[in-house]
Protein backbone atom coordinates (compact mmCIF):
# COMPACT_ATOMS: atom_id res chain seq x y z
CA UNK A 1 0.00 0.00 0.00
CA UNK A 2 2.35 2.67 -1.29
CA UNK A 3 -0.10 5.26 -2.51
CA UNK A 4 -3.73 6.01 -1.93
CA UNK A 5 -4.79 5.24 -5.47
CA UNK A 6 -3.59 1.62 -5.43
CA UNK A 7 -5.03 0.90 -2.00
CA UNK A 8 -8.36 -0.65 -3.13
CA UNK A 9 -6.62 -3.01 -5.54
CA UNK A 10 -4.12 -4.02 -2.91
CA UNK A 11 -6.88 -4.61 -0.46
CA UNK A 12 -8.66 -6.77 -2.97
CA UNK A 13 -5.49 -8.73 -3.53
CA UNK A 14 -5.04 -8.94 0.24
CA UNK A 15 -8.54 -10.29 0.67
CA UNK A 16 -8.11 -12.90 -1.96
CA UNK A 17 -4.84 -13.80 -0.31
CA UNK A 18 -6.82 -14.36 2.86
CA UNK A 19 -9.37 -16.37 0.91
CA UNK A 20 -6.60 -18.48 -0.58
CA UNK A 21 -5.12 -19.14 2.84
CA UNK A 22 -8.57 -20.03 4.17
CA UNK A 23 -9.06 -22.50 1.35
CA UNK A 24 -5.68 -24.14 1.98
CA UNK A 25 -6.38 -24.34 5.69
CA UNK A 26 -9.83 -25.82 5.13
CA UNK A 27 -8.53 -28.50 2.78
CA UNK A 28 -5.57 -29.43 4.93
CA UNK A 29 -7.79 -29.72 8.02
CA UNK A 30 -10.57 -31.69 6.39
CA UNK A 31 -8.38 -34.00 4.28
CA UNK A 32 -7.08 -36.24 7.08
CA UNK A 33 -10.55 -36.54 8.59
CA UNK A 34 -12.11 -37.51 5.25
CA UNK A 35 -9.25 -39.91 4.64
CA UNK A 36 -9.82 -41.73 7.94
CA UNK A 37 -13.57 -41.66 7.34
CA UNK A 38 -13.11 -43.13 3.90
CA UNK A 39 -10.84 -45.86 5.15
CA UNK A 40 -12.70 -47.03 8.25
CA UNK A 41 -16.33 -46.24 7.33
CA UNK A 42 -17.27 -45.35 3.80
CA UNK A 43 -15.08 -47.78 1.90
CA UNK A 44 -16.00 -50.79 4.07
CA UNK A 45 -19.71 -49.98 3.81
CA UNK A 46 -19.48 -50.08 0.02
CA UNK A 47 -17.19 -53.10 0.03
CA UNK A 48 -19.70 -54.95 2.16
CA UNK A 49 -22.33 -54.60 -0.58
CA UNK A 50 -19.78 -55.79 -3.12
CA UNK A 51 -18.70 -58.80 -1.07
CA UNK A 52 -22.29 -59.88 -0.60
CA UNK A 53 -22.53 -60.73 -4.32
CA UNK A 54 -19.44 -62.92 -4.30
CA UNK A 55 -18.28 -66.32 -3.18
CA UNK A 56 -15.22 -65.82 -1.00
CA UNK A 57 -12.17 -67.86 -0.16
CA UNK A 58 -9.66 -67.17 2.58
CA UNK A 59 -7.71 -64.10 1.49
CA UNK A 60 -9.89 -63.41 -1.54
CA UNK A 61 -13.33 -62.01 -0.81
CA UNK A 62 -14.09 -61.70 -4.55
CA UNK A 63 -13.36 -65.26 -5.63
CA UNK A 64 -16.42 -65.83 -7.81
CA UNK A 65 -19.38 -63.65 -8.75
CA UNK A 66 -22.62 -65.19 -7.54
CA UNK A 67 -25.22 -62.56 -8.22
CA UNK A 68 -27.95 -62.84 -5.61
CA UNK A 69 -27.17 -66.45 -4.73
CA UNK A 70 -25.91 -65.56 -1.23
CA UNK A 71 -29.23 -63.88 -0.50
CA UNK A 72 -31.38 -66.71 -1.82
CA UNK A 73 -29.25 -69.14 0.19
CA UNK A 74 -29.70 -67.00 3.28
CA UNK A 75 -33.43 -67.38 3.24
CA UNK A 76 -33.12 -71.14 2.96
CA UNK A 77 -30.65 -71.24 5.87
CA UNK A 78 -32.59 -72.22 8.97
CA UNK A 79 -29.90 -70.79 11.28
CA UNK A 80 -30.20 -67.38 9.62
CA UNK A 81 -33.99 -67.49 9.70
CA UNK A 82 -33.79 -68.44 13.38
CA UNK A 83 -31.38 -65.56 14.05
CA UNK A 84 -33.60 -63.11 12.21
CA UNK A 85 -36.66 -64.27 14.15
CA UNK A 86 -34.84 -64.23 17.49
CA UNK A 87 -33.42 -60.76 16.89
CA UNK A 88 -36.77 -59.34 15.79
CA UNK A 89 -38.46 -60.85 18.83
CA UNK A 90 -35.72 -59.47 21.06
CA UNK A 91 -35.84 -56.01 19.49
CA UNK A 92 -39.62 -55.70 19.73
CA UNK A 93 -39.82 -56.79 23.35
CA UNK A 94 -36.84 -54.81 24.58
CA UNK A 95 -38.17 -51.71 22.86
CA UNK A 96 -41.73 -52.23 24.08
CA UNK A 97 -40.89 -52.78 27.74
CA UNK A 98 -38.10 -50.22 27.95
CA UNK A 99 -40.38 -47.56 26.48
CA UNK A 100 -43.30 -48.39 28.79
CA UNK A 101 -41.13 -48.31 31.90
CA UNK A 102 -39.27 -45.23 30.68
CA UNK A 103 -42.48 -43.25 30.12
CA UNK A 104 -43.81 -44.23 33.54
CA UNK A 105 -40.56 -43.25 35.25
CA UNK A 106 -40.31 -40.01 33.29
CA UNK A 107 -43.87 -39.02 34.21
CA UNK A 108 -43.17 -39.74 37.88
CA UNK A 109 -39.90 -37.83 37.86
CA UNK A 110 -41.17 -34.88 35.78
CA UNK A 111 -42.91 -33.33 38.75
CA UNK A 112 -40.57 -32.01 41.43
CA UNK A 113 -39.69 -35.10 43.41
CA UNK A 114 -37.72 -35.45 46.57
CA UNK A 115 -34.55 -37.31 45.59
CA UNK A 116 -35.24 -36.76 41.87
CA UNK A 117 -31.56 -36.30 41.00
CA UNK A 118 -30.72 -39.45 42.96
CA UNK A 119 -33.28 -41.49 41.02
CA UNK A 120 -32.09 -40.08 37.69
CA UNK A 121 -28.53 -41.10 38.53
CA UNK A 122 -29.43 -44.58 39.69
CA UNK A 123 -31.68 -45.35 36.72
CA UNK A 124 -29.02 -44.04 34.37
CA UNK A 125 -26.19 -46.04 35.94
CA UNK A 126 -26.61 -49.20 33.78
CA UNK A 127 -26.66 -47.08 30.60
CA UNK A 128 -23.18 -45.73 31.20
CA UNK A 129 -21.79 -49.08 32.33
CA UNK A 130 -19.98 -51.27 29.77
CA UNK A 131 -21.90 -54.37 28.68
CA UNK A 132 -19.39 -57.11 29.55
CA UNK A 133 -19.23 -56.71 33.34
CA UNK A 134 -23.00 -56.35 33.68
CA UNK A 135 -23.56 -59.38 31.44
CA UNK A 136 -21.14 -61.31 33.66
CA UNK A 137 -23.00 -60.41 36.83
CA UNK A 138 -26.44 -61.04 35.31
CA UNK A 139 -25.29 -64.47 34.23
CA UNK A 140 -24.40 -65.11 37.85
CA UNK A 141 -27.76 -63.73 39.00
CA UNK A 142 -29.49 -66.16 36.61
CA UNK A 143 -27.47 -69.14 37.89
CA UNK A 144 -29.92 -72.05 38.33
CA UNK A 145 -28.43 -73.39 41.58
CA UNK A 146 -26.97 -70.45 43.47
CA UNK A 147 -28.42 -67.49 41.56
CA UNK A 148 -29.90 -64.50 43.30
CA UNK A 149 -32.99 -64.43 41.08
CA UNK A 150 -34.05 -67.99 41.87
CA UNK A 151 -33.49 -67.25 45.54
CA UNK A 152 -35.74 -64.18 45.43
CA UNK A 153 -38.35 -66.14 43.46
CA UNK A 154 -38.22 -68.90 46.06
CA UNK A 155 -39.74 -66.48 48.59
CA UNK A 156 -42.87 -66.62 46.44
CA UNK A 157 -42.75 -70.38 46.18
CA UNK A 158 -41.38 -70.48 42.63
CA UNK A 159 -39.30 -73.59 41.88
CA UNK A 160 -35.75 -72.97 40.60
CA UNK A 161 -35.61 -72.01 36.91
CA UNK A 162 -32.67 -72.86 34.63
CA UNK A 163 -32.83 -69.36 33.13
CA UNK A 164 -30.03 -69.52 30.60
CA UNK A 165 -30.27 -73.25 29.99
CA UNK A 166 -33.47 -73.38 27.94
CA UNK A 167 -34.14 -71.41 24.75
CA UNK A 168 -37.40 -69.79 25.90
CA UNK A 169 -36.23 -68.64 29.31
CA UNK A 170 -32.81 -67.68 27.95
CA UNK A 171 -34.47 -65.23 25.59
CA UNK A 172 -36.63 -63.82 28.38
CA UNK A 173 -33.59 -63.53 30.65
CA UNK A 174 -31.59 -61.61 28.07
CA UNK A 175 -34.55 -59.35 27.31
CA UNK A 176 -34.98 -58.51 31.01
CA UNK A 177 -31.29 -57.73 31.35
CA UNK A 178 -31.30 -55.57 28.21
CA UNK A 179 -34.37 -53.61 29.31
CA UNK A 180 -32.61 -52.99 32.62
CA UNK A 181 -29.60 -51.72 30.67
CA UNK A 182 -31.36 -49.16 28.43
CA UNK A 183 -34.45 -48.04 30.32
CA UNK A 184 -32.54 -45.13 31.88
CA UNK A 185 -31.51 -43.76 28.50
CA UNK A 186 -35.09 -43.72 27.23
CA UNK A 187 -36.26 -42.27 30.53
CA UNK A 188 -33.90 -39.29 30.25
CA UNK A 189 -35.07 -38.53 26.71
CA UNK A 190 -38.74 -38.67 27.74
CA UNK A 191 -38.01 -36.60 30.82
CA UNK A 192 -36.66 -33.76 28.71
CA UNK A 193 -39.64 -34.06 26.39
CA UNK A 194 -42.13 -33.83 29.24
CA UNK A 195 -40.32 -30.93 30.87
CA UNK A 196 -40.46 -29.06 27.55
CA UNK A 197 -44.26 -29.17 27.49
CA UNK A 198 -45.47 -25.67 28.42
CA UNK A 199 -46.98 -25.65 31.89
CA UNK A 200 -49.91 -23.58 30.59
CA UNK A 201 -51.21 -26.49 28.46
CA UNK A 202 -51.44 -28.76 31.48
CA UNK A 203 -52.87 -25.98 33.62
CA UNK A 204 -55.55 -25.22 31.03
CA UNK A 205 -56.55 -28.87 30.83
CA UNK A 206 -56.79 -29.13 34.61
CA UNK A 207 -58.89 -25.97 34.84
CA UNK A 208 -61.19 -27.56 32.30
CA UNK A 209 -61.60 -30.38 34.81
CA UNK A 210 -59.32 -33.05 33.34
CA UNK A 211 -57.96 -35.54 35.85
CA UNK A 212 -54.35 -36.73 35.99
CA UNK A 213 -54.90 -39.63 33.65
CA UNK A 214 -56.76 -37.50 31.14
CA UNK A 215 -54.05 -34.83 31.18
CA UNK A 216 -51.49 -37.55 30.51
CA UNK A 217 -53.48 -39.21 27.74
CA UNK A 218 -54.81 -36.09 26.01
CA UNK A 219 -51.97 -33.59 26.48
CA UNK A 220 -48.67 -35.19 27.51
CA UNK A 221 -48.74 -38.28 25.33
CA UNK A 222 -49.72 -36.60 22.03
CA UNK A 223 -47.10 -33.89 22.56
CA UNK A 224 -44.49 -36.57 23.24
CA UNK A 225 -45.16 -38.29 19.92
CA UNK A 226 -42.07 -37.06 17.99
CA UNK A 227 -39.81 -38.03 20.90
CA UNK A 228 -41.65 -41.32 21.27
CA UNK A 229 -40.93 -42.07 17.63
CA UNK A 230 -37.26 -41.20 18.05
CA UNK A 231 -36.93 -43.44 21.10
CA UNK A 232 -38.80 -46.32 19.46
CA UNK A 233 -36.60 -46.23 16.37
CA UNK A 234 -33.31 -45.78 18.23
CA UNK A 235 -34.12 -48.59 20.67
CA UNK A 236 -35.16 -50.94 17.88
CA UNK A 237 -32.03 -50.21 15.84
CA UNK A 238 -29.76 -50.72 18.82
CA UNK A 239 -31.54 -53.93 19.75
CA UNK A 240 -31.07 -55.32 16.25
CA UNK A 241 -27.31 -55.02 16.83
CA UNK A 242 -27.41 -57.13 19.98
CA UNK A 243 -24.30 -59.24 20.37
CA UNK A 244 -22.20 -58.77 23.50
CA UNK A 245 -24.73 -59.89 26.11
CA UNK A 246 -25.68 -62.91 23.98
CA UNK A 247 -22.03 -63.84 23.52
CA UNK A 248 -21.30 -63.57 27.25
CA UNK A 249 -24.46 -65.03 28.68
CA UNK A 250 -25.27 -67.92 26.38
CA UNK A 251 -21.94 -69.30 25.27
CA UNK A 252 -19.08 -70.92 27.09
CA UNK A 253 -19.09 -73.84 29.48
CA UNK A 254 -21.64 -72.32 31.87
CA UNK A 255 -24.03 -71.02 29.22
CA UNK A 256 -26.95 -72.20 27.14
CA UNK A 257 -26.65 -74.16 23.90
CA UNK A 258 -25.40 -71.74 21.25
CA UNK A 259 -28.47 -71.58 19.05
CA UNK A 260 -30.96 -70.83 21.79
CA UNK A 261 -30.62 -67.09 21.51
CA UNK A 262 -28.72 -66.87 18.27
CA UNK A 263 -28.94 -63.32 16.88
CA UNK A 264 -28.08 -61.81 13.50
CA UNK A 265 -24.78 -60.30 14.57
CA UNK A 266 -23.84 -63.55 16.30
CA UNK A 267 -24.57 -65.43 13.07
CA UNK A 268 -22.53 -62.88 11.05
CA UNK A 269 -19.67 -63.25 13.52
CA UNK A 270 -19.65 -67.05 13.29
CA UNK A 271 -19.96 -67.20 9.52
CA UNK A 272 -17.30 -64.58 8.90
CA UNK A 273 -14.76 -65.26 11.61
CA UNK A 274 -15.22 -68.93 12.44
CA UNK A 275 -16.18 -70.51 9.13
CA UNK A 276 -14.60 -67.78 6.94
CA UNK A 277 -17.67 -67.51 4.71
CA UNK A 278 -17.02 -63.83 4.11
CA UNK A 279 -19.39 -63.22 1.21
CA UNK A 280 -22.22 -65.07 2.88
CA UNK A 281 -21.75 -63.15 6.13
CA UNK A 282 -21.55 -59.89 4.16
CA UNK A 283 -24.97 -60.72 2.67
CA UNK A 284 -26.31 -61.12 6.22
CA UNK A 285 -24.81 -57.75 7.08
CA UNK A 286 -26.61 -56.25 4.08
CA UNK A 287 -29.90 -57.60 5.44
CA UNK A 288 -29.09 -56.02 8.82
CA UNK A 289 -28.25 -52.76 7.06
CA UNK A 290 -31.56 -52.79 5.16
CA UNK A 291 -33.51 -53.33 8.38
CA UNK A 292 -31.76 -50.38 10.00
CA UNK A 293 -32.21 -48.24 6.90
CA UNK A 294 -35.93 -49.02 6.79
CA UNK A 295 -36.29 -48.07 10.46
CA UNK A 296 -34.39 -44.82 9.95
CA UNK A 297 -36.42 -43.88 6.87
CA UNK A 298 -39.64 -44.67 8.75
CA UNK A 299 -38.64 -42.17 11.37
CA UNK A 300 -37.74 -39.47 8.83
CA UNK A 301 -40.83 -40.30 6.79
CA UNK A 302 -43.28 -40.10 9.66
CA UNK A 303 -41.79 -37.04 11.29
CA UNK A 304 -41.48 -35.37 7.87
CA UNK A 305 -45.08 -35.97 6.89
CA UNK A 306 -46.24 -34.90 10.35
CA UNK A 307 -44.35 -31.66 9.95
CA UNK A 308 -45.93 -31.08 6.55
CA UNK A 309 -49.38 -31.77 7.98
CA UNK A 310 -48.79 -29.41 10.87
CA UNK A 311 -47.56 -26.71 8.56
CA UNK A 312 -50.48 -26.97 6.17
CA UNK A 313 -52.86 -27.03 9.13
CA UNK A 314 -51.29 -23.84 10.47
CA UNK A 315 -51.52 -22.29 7.01
CA UNK A 316 -55.21 -23.14 6.78
CA UNK A 317 -55.73 -21.68 10.22
CA UNK A 318 -53.86 -18.55 9.22
CA UNK A 319 -55.97 -18.22 6.07
CA UNK A 320 -59.27 -18.63 7.88
CA UNK A 321 -58.26 -16.18 10.62
Amino acid sequence: MKTKSTAPAARRRGLSEIERKKRIFAYSMIAPVILIFGFVRILPIFQNFLYSFFHSSIGNPLEKFLGLANFTDLFKDHLFILSLRNTTFFALFVTFFSVIFAVLLAVMLSSPTRGGAFYETVYFLPVITPMVPVAVVWKWIYDPTYGLLNYILSWFGVAPVGWLVFPDTAMIAIIIMSVWKIVGYNMIIFLVGIRDIPESYLEAARIDGANTLQVFRRITLPLLRPIMLFVLVISTINSYNVFTQVFIMTSGPQGAPGNAVRTIVFDIYENAFRYFRTGYAAAEAVVLFLIILALTLTQFGISGSRERRERSRLKRKGASA
Binding site: K22, R23, F25, A26, M29, I30, V33, I34, I36, F37, F39, V40, P44, I45, N48, Y51, P61, L105, M108, L109, S110, S111, P112, T113, E120, T121, V122, Y123, F124, L125, P126, I128, T129, P130, V132, P133, V134, V136, W138, W140, I141, Y146, Y151, W180, G184, Y185, I189, V192, T212, V215, F247, S251, G252, P253, Q254, I268, Y269, A272, F273, L288
Partner: protein, 277 residues
Protein backbone atom coordinates in the same frame (compact mmCIF):
# COMPACT_ATOMS: atom_id res chain seq x y z
CA UNK B 1 -46.69 -27.02 39.68
CA UNK B 2 -46.50 -29.89 37.29
CA UNK B 3 -48.32 -32.42 39.32
CA UNK B 4 -49.41 -35.62 37.67
CA UNK B 5 -49.86 -37.44 40.92
CA UNK B 6 -52.19 -36.31 43.67
CA UNK B 7 -51.22 -36.15 47.33
CA UNK B 8 -52.53 -39.57 48.27
CA UNK B 9 -50.61 -41.53 45.62
CA UNK B 10 -47.39 -39.72 46.55
CA UNK B 11 -46.37 -42.58 48.80
CA UNK B 12 -47.12 -45.10 46.04
CA UNK B 13 -44.99 -43.08 43.65
CA UNK B 14 -42.03 -43.04 46.01
CA UNK B 15 -42.38 -46.73 46.75
CA UNK B 16 -42.41 -47.50 43.02
CA UNK B 17 -39.37 -45.33 42.38
CA UNK B 18 -37.53 -46.88 45.30
CA UNK B 19 -38.36 -50.44 44.21
CA UNK B 20 -37.19 -49.59 40.69
CA UNK B 21 -34.00 -48.05 42.04
CA UNK B 22 -33.36 -51.20 44.06
CA UNK B 23 -33.66 -53.33 40.91
CA UNK B 24 -31.29 -50.99 39.06
CA UNK B 25 -28.66 -51.03 41.77
CA UNK B 26 -28.91 -54.64 42.97
CA UNK B 27 -26.71 -56.19 40.24
CA UNK B 28 -23.94 -53.72 41.09
CA UNK B 29 -24.22 -54.49 44.80
CA UNK B 30 -24.23 -58.21 44.04
CA UNK B 31 -21.12 -57.83 41.89
CA UNK B 32 -19.30 -55.93 44.61
CA UNK B 33 -20.45 -58.32 47.31
CA UNK B 34 -19.38 -61.41 45.36
CA UNK B 35 -16.00 -59.85 44.67
CA UNK B 36 -15.40 -59.37 48.39
CA UNK B 37 -16.39 -62.88 49.53
CA UNK B 38 -14.06 -65.78 50.26
CA UNK B 39 -14.62 -68.76 47.88
CA UNK B 40 -16.70 -70.85 50.28
CA UNK B 41 -19.11 -67.99 50.88
CA UNK B 42 -19.70 -67.24 47.19
CA UNK B 43 -21.67 -70.44 46.74
CA UNK B 44 -23.51 -70.35 50.04
CA UNK B 45 -27.25 -70.89 50.22
CA UNK B 46 -29.19 -68.75 50.93
CA UNK B 47 -27.16 -66.05 49.17
CA UNK B 48 -25.80 -63.34 51.48
CA UNK B 49 -25.96 -59.79 50.17
CA UNK B 50 -23.38 -58.66 52.71
CA UNK B 51 -20.32 -60.92 53.02
CA UNK B 52 -19.84 -62.44 56.48
CA UNK B 53 -16.10 -62.03 56.07
CA UNK B 54 -14.64 -59.38 53.80
CA UNK B 55 -11.58 -60.32 51.79
CA UNK B 56 -9.51 -58.79 48.99
CA UNK B 57 -8.32 -62.27 48.06
CA UNK B 58 -10.29 -62.23 44.77
CA UNK B 59 -8.60 -59.02 43.65
CA UNK B 60 -5.20 -60.55 44.41
CA UNK B 61 -6.19 -63.64 42.41
CA UNK B 62 -7.24 -61.51 39.44
CA UNK B 63 -3.91 -59.80 39.32
CA UNK B 64 -1.95 -62.98 39.95
CA UNK B 65 -3.61 -65.38 37.51
CA UNK B 66 -4.63 -63.21 34.58
CA UNK B 67 -2.81 -60.32 32.94
CA UNK B 68 -5.59 -57.95 33.99
CA UNK B 69 -3.15 -55.15 34.66
CA UNK B 70 -2.15 -55.47 31.05
CA UNK B 71 -5.78 -55.53 29.91
CA UNK B 72 -6.53 -52.49 32.01
CA UNK B 73 -3.70 -50.48 30.49
CA UNK B 74 -4.63 -51.63 26.97
CA UNK B 75 -8.16 -50.35 27.54
CA UNK B 76 -6.89 -47.14 29.05
CA UNK B 77 -4.50 -46.54 26.15
CA UNK B 78 -7.07 -47.46 23.51
CA UNK B 79 -9.78 -45.26 25.05
CA UNK B 80 -7.37 -42.34 25.54
CA UNK B 81 -5.95 -42.44 22.01
CA UNK B 82 -9.48 -42.74 20.64
CA UNK B 83 -10.73 -39.81 22.74
CA UNK B 84 -7.90 -37.50 21.71
CA UNK B 85 -8.26 -38.46 18.04
CA UNK B 86 -12.04 -37.98 18.09
CA UNK B 87 -11.63 -34.58 19.75
CA UNK B 88 -9.10 -33.45 17.16
CA UNK B 89 -10.97 -34.76 14.14
CA UNK B 90 -14.32 -33.47 15.44
CA UNK B 91 -12.95 -30.01 16.29
CA UNK B 92 -11.09 -29.49 13.01
CA UNK B 93 -13.78 -30.94 10.76
CA UNK B 94 -16.56 -29.27 12.74
CA UNK B 95 -14.78 -25.91 12.49
CA UNK B 96 -14.15 -26.25 8.77
CA UNK B 97 -17.73 -27.33 8.08
CA UNK B 98 -19.04 -24.45 10.18
CA UNK B 99 -16.89 -21.56 9.02
CA UNK B 100 -15.36 -22.28 5.60
CA UNK B 101 -16.63 -22.59 2.05
CA UNK B 102 -15.22 -24.86 -0.59
CA UNK B 103 -16.46 -27.10 -3.39
CA UNK B 104 -18.20 -30.32 -2.28
CA UNK B 105 -18.46 -29.08 1.31
CA UNK B 106 -22.09 -30.03 1.71
CA UNK B 107 -21.55 -33.35 0.00
CA UNK B 108 -18.68 -34.21 2.37
CA UNK B 109 -20.67 -33.10 5.39
CA UNK B 110 -23.68 -35.20 4.47
CA UNK B 111 -21.37 -38.13 3.72
CA UNK B 112 -19.82 -38.02 7.20
CA UNK B 113 -23.19 -37.56 8.86
CA UNK B 114 -25.10 -40.20 6.92
CA UNK B 115 -22.77 -42.97 8.08
CA UNK B 116 -23.69 -42.20 11.69
CA UNK B 117 -26.63 -44.61 11.56
CA UNK B 118 -24.60 -47.51 10.17
CA UNK B 119 -23.25 -49.61 13.03
CA UNK B 120 -19.81 -51.21 12.96
CA UNK B 121 -21.44 -54.64 12.85
CA UNK B 122 -22.62 -53.93 9.30
CA UNK B 123 -19.20 -53.18 7.84
CA UNK B 124 -16.80 -55.00 10.17
CA UNK B 125 -16.03 -57.74 7.64
CA UNK B 126 -14.53 -55.53 4.89
CA UNK B 127 -12.89 -53.39 7.57
CA UNK B 128 -11.24 -56.50 8.96
CA UNK B 129 -10.08 -57.45 5.45
CA UNK B 130 -8.56 -53.98 5.04
CA UNK B 131 -6.69 -54.51 8.29
CA UNK B 132 -5.41 -57.84 6.96
CA UNK B 133 -4.11 -56.12 3.82
CA UNK B 134 -2.43 -53.39 5.87
CA UNK B 135 -0.89 -55.93 8.21
CA UNK B 136 -2.74 -54.33 11.11
CA UNK B 137 -4.45 -57.44 12.49
CA UNK B 138 -3.43 -57.97 16.10
CA UNK B 139 -1.77 -54.55 16.33
CA UNK B 140 -2.67 -51.54 18.42
CA UNK B 141 -3.32 -49.37 15.36
CA UNK B 142 -5.75 -51.97 14.04
CA UNK B 143 -7.47 -52.12 17.42
CA UNK B 144 -8.03 -48.38 17.65
CA UNK B 145 -8.56 -47.56 13.93
CA UNK B 146 -12.40 -47.62 13.86
CA UNK B 147 -12.52 -45.36 16.92
CA UNK B 148 -10.63 -42.34 15.59
CA UNK B 149 -13.67 -40.51 14.26
CA UNK B 150 -17.24 -39.94 15.36
CA UNK B 151 -19.98 -38.54 13.10
CA UNK B 152 -21.90 -37.10 16.03
CA UNK B 153 -18.75 -35.46 17.29
CA UNK B 154 -18.27 -33.55 14.03
CA UNK B 155 -21.94 -32.62 13.90
CA UNK B 156 -22.01 -31.48 17.52
CA UNK B 157 -18.84 -29.38 17.12
CA UNK B 158 -20.19 -27.77 13.96
CA UNK B 159 -23.45 -26.81 15.67
CA UNK B 160 -21.58 -25.39 18.64
CA UNK B 161 -19.14 -23.39 16.55
CA UNK B 162 -21.92 -21.98 14.37
CA UNK B 163 -23.86 -20.92 17.44
CA UNK B 164 -21.09 -19.57 19.63
CA UNK B 165 -18.27 -18.16 17.49
CA UNK B 166 -19.11 -15.08 15.40
CA UNK B 167 -17.49 -14.64 11.97
CA UNK B 168 -16.46 -11.09 12.96
CA UNK B 169 -14.16 -12.49 15.64
CA UNK B 170 -12.32 -14.67 13.13
CA UNK B 171 -12.13 -11.87 10.56
CA UNK B 172 -10.73 -9.49 13.16
CA UNK B 173 -7.98 -12.01 13.95
CA UNK B 174 -7.26 -12.40 10.21
CA UNK B 175 -6.95 -8.65 9.73
CA UNK B 176 -4.53 -8.59 12.65
CA UNK B 177 -2.43 -10.97 10.61
CA UNK B 178 -2.96 -14.20 12.53
CA UNK B 179 -2.51 -17.37 10.49
CA UNK B 180 -5.51 -19.67 10.08
CA UNK B 181 -3.88 -22.34 12.22
CA UNK B 182 -3.13 -19.81 14.93
CA UNK B 183 -6.74 -18.60 14.86
CA UNK B 184 -7.95 -22.16 15.29
CA UNK B 185 -5.54 -22.87 18.11
CA UNK B 186 -5.74 -19.60 20.04
CA UNK B 187 -9.21 -18.24 19.28
CA UNK B 188 -11.47 -21.19 18.40
CA UNK B 189 -10.21 -24.17 20.36
CA UNK B 190 -10.32 -22.52 23.81
CA UNK B 191 -13.97 -21.60 23.19
CA UNK B 192 -14.96 -25.23 22.71
CA UNK B 193 -14.56 -26.48 26.27
CA UNK B 194 -18.28 -27.35 26.52
CA UNK B 195 -18.53 -29.67 23.52
CA UNK B 196 -15.03 -30.98 24.18
CA UNK B 197 -16.12 -32.15 27.61
CA UNK B 198 -19.27 -33.82 26.31
CA UNK B 199 -17.60 -35.50 23.34
CA UNK B 200 -14.63 -36.78 25.31
CA UNK B 201 -16.90 -38.49 27.84
CA UNK B 202 -18.83 -40.25 25.10
CA UNK B 203 -15.75 -41.17 23.12
CA UNK B 204 -14.02 -42.62 26.15
CA UNK B 205 -17.07 -44.54 27.30
CA UNK B 206 -17.80 -45.90 23.83
CA UNK B 207 -14.27 -47.10 23.19
CA UNK B 208 -13.80 -48.52 26.67
CA UNK B 209 -16.97 -50.60 26.21
CA UNK B 210 -16.01 -51.88 22.73
CA UNK B 211 -16.29 -55.64 22.46
CA UNK B 212 -16.88 -57.17 19.05
CA UNK B 213 -14.06 -55.29 17.29
CA UNK B 214 -11.36 -56.18 19.85
CA UNK B 215 -12.75 -59.73 19.71
CA UNK B 216 -12.12 -60.11 15.99
CA UNK B 217 -9.01 -57.94 15.51
CA UNK B 218 -6.82 -59.30 18.32
CA UNK B 219 -5.40 -62.79 18.41
CA UNK B 220 -2.97 -62.57 21.30
CA UNK B 221 -3.68 -61.81 24.91
CA UNK B 222 -1.10 -59.02 24.96
CA UNK B 223 -3.59 -56.82 23.12
CA UNK B 224 -6.78 -57.79 24.91
CA UNK B 225 -8.76 -54.99 26.47
CA UNK B 226 -10.42 -55.17 29.85
CA UNK B 227 -13.82 -55.98 28.31
CA UNK B 228 -12.43 -58.64 26.03
CA UNK B 229 -10.28 -60.14 28.79
CA UNK B 230 -13.30 -60.42 31.07
CA UNK B 231 -15.45 -61.83 28.31
CA UNK B 232 -12.90 -64.40 27.21
CA UNK B 233 -12.09 -65.52 30.72
CA UNK B 234 -15.64 -66.33 31.56
CA UNK B 235 -16.23 -67.77 28.09
CA UNK B 236 -13.29 -70.12 27.76
CA UNK B 237 -12.73 -71.25 31.29
CA UNK B 238 -14.97 -72.27 34.12
CA UNK B 239 -13.83 -69.47 36.32
CA UNK B 240 -14.34 -68.83 39.94
CA UNK B 241 -17.08 -66.30 40.46
CA UNK B 242 -15.17 -64.28 43.03
CA UNK B 243 -12.27 -63.27 40.79
CA UNK B 244 -14.44 -62.66 37.70
CA UNK B 245 -16.65 -60.31 39.71
CA UNK B 246 -13.58 -58.59 41.09
CA UNK B 247 -12.39 -58.11 37.51
CA UNK B 248 -15.82 -56.72 36.59
CA UNK B 249 -15.62 -54.19 39.42
CA UNK B 250 -12.18 -53.09 38.24
CA UNK B 251 -13.42 -52.60 34.69
CA UNK B 252 -16.30 -50.43 35.92
CA UNK B 253 -14.20 -48.05 37.96
CA UNK B 254 -12.97 -45.60 35.28
CA UNK B 255 -16.33 -45.22 33.58
CA UNK B 256 -18.31 -44.95 36.79
CA UNK B 257 -15.84 -42.49 38.28
CA UNK B 258 -16.21 -40.22 35.27
CA UNK B 259 -19.97 -40.62 35.35
CA UNK B 260 -20.41 -39.77 39.00
CA UNK B 261 -18.19 -36.69 38.72
CA UNK B 262 -19.72 -35.41 35.49
CA UNK B 263 -23.27 -36.73 35.82
CA UNK B 264 -24.99 -33.46 34.90
CA UNK B 265 -22.89 -32.89 31.81
CA UNK B 266 -23.34 -36.43 30.54
CA UNK B 267 -27.10 -36.35 30.88
CA UNK B 268 -27.17 -32.92 29.24
CA UNK B 269 -25.01 -34.17 26.38
CA UNK B 270 -27.37 -37.03 25.71
CA UNK B 271 -30.44 -34.87 25.68
CA UNK B 272 -28.82 -32.24 23.46
CA UNK B 273 -27.47 -34.53 20.81
CA UNK B 274 -29.26 -37.85 21.11
CA UNK B 275 -25.80 -39.36 21.46
CA UNK B 276 -25.96 -42.92 22.60
CA UNK B 277 -23.96 -43.66 25.67
Amino acid sequence: MRNYTGKAPLLAKHLTLLAGAAVMILPFVWMLSTSLKPPHEVLSWPPQLIPRTFTLENYRTVFATAPFVRFFFNSLLMASVSTVAILLTSATAGYVFAKFDFPFKNFLFILTLSTAMVPLEVYMIPLYMSMVRMGWVNTFIGLVAPYLIMSYGIFFMRQNIMASIPDELLDAARIDGASEWKIFRIVVFPMLSGPIGAISIFAFQQTWAAFIWPLIITSSRELWTMELGLGMFQYRFTVDLGPINAGSILSLIPVLAVFLVMRKKIIQGITLTGMKA
